[in-house]
């Protein structure tokens, strides 16, 4: 009995630390793109963009987590603001253009 118990327990221990076969979500940190200048620029929430609720662990019925860049407020409103990244201006050509 003991001869069987040891290898069985050993295998169960290995199983407990084995990687799960389920898929995982890996949010990408976008804060490195905070200072790209005027063309590609983050803009703070300010009056126009208020906080995105539940920025790190999914929200509003969605199982997908996101890491929204957080940075000190620059609009004078205080606190931390979540940042959205904006692309503006003339871009590449497209057949679907208006």
């Amino acid at each position: 009995m003991q001869k069987l118990l040891f290898p069985l327990l050993r295998e169960l221990c290995f199983l407990s630390i084995a990687p799960s076969a389920r898929a995982d979500y890996q949010p990408i940190d976008l804060s490195n793109y905070l200072n790209l200048g005027f063309t590609n620029a983050w803009f703070n929430n300010g009056n126009e963009f208020s906080s995105i609720i539940g920025t790190t662990n999914g929200n509003q019925d969605s199982p997908v987590p996101f890491q929204v860049a957080n940075a000190l407020d620059t609009s004078g409103q205080g606190g931390n603001n979540n940042f959205w990244f904006g692309l503006w201006g003339l871009g590449i050509s497209s057949s679907a253009r208006r």
Partner: protein, 164 residues
């Protein structure tokens, strides 16, 4: 600055390094200013470590909406089966406040390592808005095989115990 302060110049794209293998799906939380139904507002390009990049478009009233929940631009309805993050307002559509649309992009099974993701502005008037990127990852094949082998070993030991 905000959508009222539109900026011009180049480059109008941003490339985000990823360098992850086994990525079946990439999720984005994005929107645009203004827009119109069927208009290509901005693109996303998935670049593999080896092979040909794949580009998909965000089309108005499909993959992207006017962030202002504006019925006069990208329509008055939600995209079927799409998830939205509402910011401020009454969390309904149409309504007040802003929203972001969650879009999942599936990559081919033979895509191998995802080297980077590039967002490129297409429409010169409507600005793309990007708030979040999340990649879905699956365990590598070797880990799954190891797990299977250990499960088989446990099953074998238990079976031998029962037979005795």
């Amino acid at each position: 600055m905000g959508p009222g302060n539109q900026l011009f110049g180049s480059p109008l794209s941003v490339t985000i390094p990823i360098n992850l293998a086994g990525v079946p799906t990439v999720y984005t939380l994005a929107d645009n200013t203004y827009g119109c139904p069927g208009c290509e507002e901005f693109d996303i390009t998935f670049t593999p470590a080896r092979g040909t990049p794949i580009t998909y478009g965000y089309f108005g009233d499909g993959e992207t909406k006017d962030y202002k929940l504006n019925c006069g631009t990208t329509g008055c309805d939600t995209t079927t089966n799409a998830s939205y993050w509402f910011i401020d307002g009454n969390r309904s559509y149409p309504g007040d406040g802003q929203w972001l649309q969650l879009v999942g992009w599936s990559l081919p099974s033979n895509f191998e390592t995802l080297d980077s993701i590039t967002f490129t502005q297409v429409n010169g008037v409507d600005g793309a808005i990007l708030a979040g990127v999340t990649v879905q990852t699956t365990p590598d094949q070797a880990s799954v095989l190891l797990l299977g082998a250990r499960l088989a070993a446990v099953a074998f030991l238990m079976r031998r115990r029962l037979v005795r």
